[in-house]
Symmetry: C2
């Protein structure tokens, strides 16, 4: 059914070795023969079998990527940046979704290893529970973590400095006169959630702000809504500012505040984290901490290159400083 290099070789009247060499350019071939091979390949519509090539070469020219859940727009944004970089160098990306489930994540990772990808880029689902699978995979292929990292794992990482990012948000609302400031984020099951939480605590302490107990559950719109409802339902005075652990939470908060006629920024300041594409389209447009995705993607592939070249190179953790983007949810002007 499928056209193989044998067919091409026969059609061109040369050996398979010559056909292969002509097609891949791995060695010189007399121009005349090369042309015959090229013709044969074209007329037969030859398309090389990447599986066979990968088996022989032991490399696939492909990197695998696993994200916790593709439904959170922050991840497609990273994926997009990585894809673009890979595209430039003619490599492919195999993308997998872990559906926020460490069992699925593990299966995906092992599948990618079995598929002989040249490297793995992963945003781990959990700080504690993703470790095992990564440790196992690491014995076979280079791994670079992005955005989040697993605890106690000696693997490269690139992300933003979450503590600095949250501190920027806190300092910003403090400078606007906020004195009571609540943090709505995810349970510290991921490194991001952990670091943003400690970042928040450090920052409010340093700024001398009053902060009720943080509301922690998960990075979702729905949780943002429930948290906002809870704040409203408490009946006490609303905080001056709600610092959200990421943008989707902030979306939920904004939406629920709007529904209950809590005005942002007049009554409460709200900030997010990530600067996903829709942040500037929220009502009001969301002040948030921007993660420099292109920069992250570039660094990420650089780390991967280094590790592919030398699996024993010292592991690096690169924390890029994020920037605060001020919009109307804290009174900025659009």
């Amino acid at each position: 059914m499928s056209v193989t290099i044998r067919d091409v070789a026969r059609h061109a009247g040369v050996s398979v070795a010559t056909a292969s060499r002509a097609l891949t350019g791995s060695r010189n071939v007399r121009p005349e023969l090369a042309a015959r091979v090229a013709d044969a390949a074209r007329t037969l519509c030859y398309n090389h079998n990447a599986v066979a090539r990968a088996l022989r070469r032991g490399r696939t020219n492909t990197v695998g990527m696993v994200v916790p859940e593709i439904g959170n727009p922050f991840f497609p944004a990273i994926v997009e940046a990585v894809e673009r970089r890979l595209e430039e160098r003619g490599m492919d990306l195999i993308l997998c979704d872990a559906q926020q489930d460490i069992a699925i994540e593990r299966r995906r990772v092992l599948t990618l290893v079995g598929r002989q990808v040249d490297g793995l880029i992963i945003v781990p689902v959990s700080a504690t529970d993703s470790r095992a699978a990564l440790l196992e995979a690491q014995r076979s292929i280079p791994i670079v973590q992005v955005d989040r990292f697993a605890d106690n794992l000696s693997a490269d990482w690139v992300g933003v400095d979450d503590e600095v990012g949250i501190a920027q948000a806190v300092d910003h609302v403090a400078s606007l006169g906020a004195t009571r400031c609540v943090f709505v984020s995810a349970k510290p099951k991921t490194s991001s959630a952990q670091q943003r939480l400690t970042g928040f605590e450090t920052a409010v302490h340093r700024a001398g702000l009053d902060s009720p107990a943080p509301l922690l559950d998960e990075f979702s719109v729905d949780w943002g809504r429930r948290a906002a409802l809870e704040l409203i339902a408490r009946g006490e005075r609303l905080p001056d500012a709600v610092i959200c652990g990421n943008d989707v939470i902030a979306f939920g908060v904004l939406s629920e505040f709007r529904r209950h006629h809590v005005r942002v920024p007049e009554d409460v300041l709200v900030t997010g984290f990530d600067d996903i594409r829709f942040a500037e389209l929220a009502d009001p447009p969301l002040t948030t901490v921007r993660q420099p995705r292109d920069r992250m993607a570039t660094e990420c592939l650089r780390l991967l290159d280094i590790r592919i070249a030398d699996p024993d190179a010292a592991t690096q953790r690169i924390a890029i400083s994020p920037t605060l983007v001020i919009r109307e949810s804290t009174g900025g002007h659009s």
Copy 2:
């Protein structure tokens, strides 16, 4: 470096055939030996080489998927639904982004073919220009198109009935008293854009509405903004309703209207298409046409199964009826 089935066989003191049979269960093996093999595999941390298996079996247990641009949240939503279905049956997904570029799309498709995926699910970038690559790929593997389809291509398709969807939106605004109704969408380079356009024209005609020339460019937030600006800049009376070709355009329109103090729905009604996750979080929450993504994913895999089983089965086009979700952008209540 890597543990192979040879190592497992040696360690268990059996032949590779037995090891393979024990591990895959492809034939009976004496329980005692099976246990030895299982032990060996466990202690050596054997992970089968999917590349070698694929080469031998000619199947990969994997489907490939190509989407026009993963940045548009509608596509990750479809991907998510497909992934979930595949996960249920223990298959993998290789996802690629075509970056809205038919050259890249072509490369991705051929890569997937070369990688021997068992089937290909694609949302074609262009109605006219995606055809060639798909035609070529079709000779090697089963293809199912989702959401959009390529012209003159005999391939399965599953999507929503765009004409019906747009008609629902038009009828809805007409029932609310709108008499002047403008369509903001993408140039008819994709089947969706084409069908939504003709759907719009048919519907306004049938409803006897007045409609200025449609504003057509691309499915992006930015175009939504520019289109809204243009409507405002014209200086004439704004239309009663703006029907958008998809949700991201509607987001742009809403955002620009808000910036210019055009009230929605009081001054203008606005509708979208797709019902992406953020549609209900827009300000005001967006009335839109919901695409039943799970249903589409299910149908899509069903079609793929049929085609894998019988490559010569008659091609099917399944148009699912979408439902209108009424929210505040047309005066509905949340």
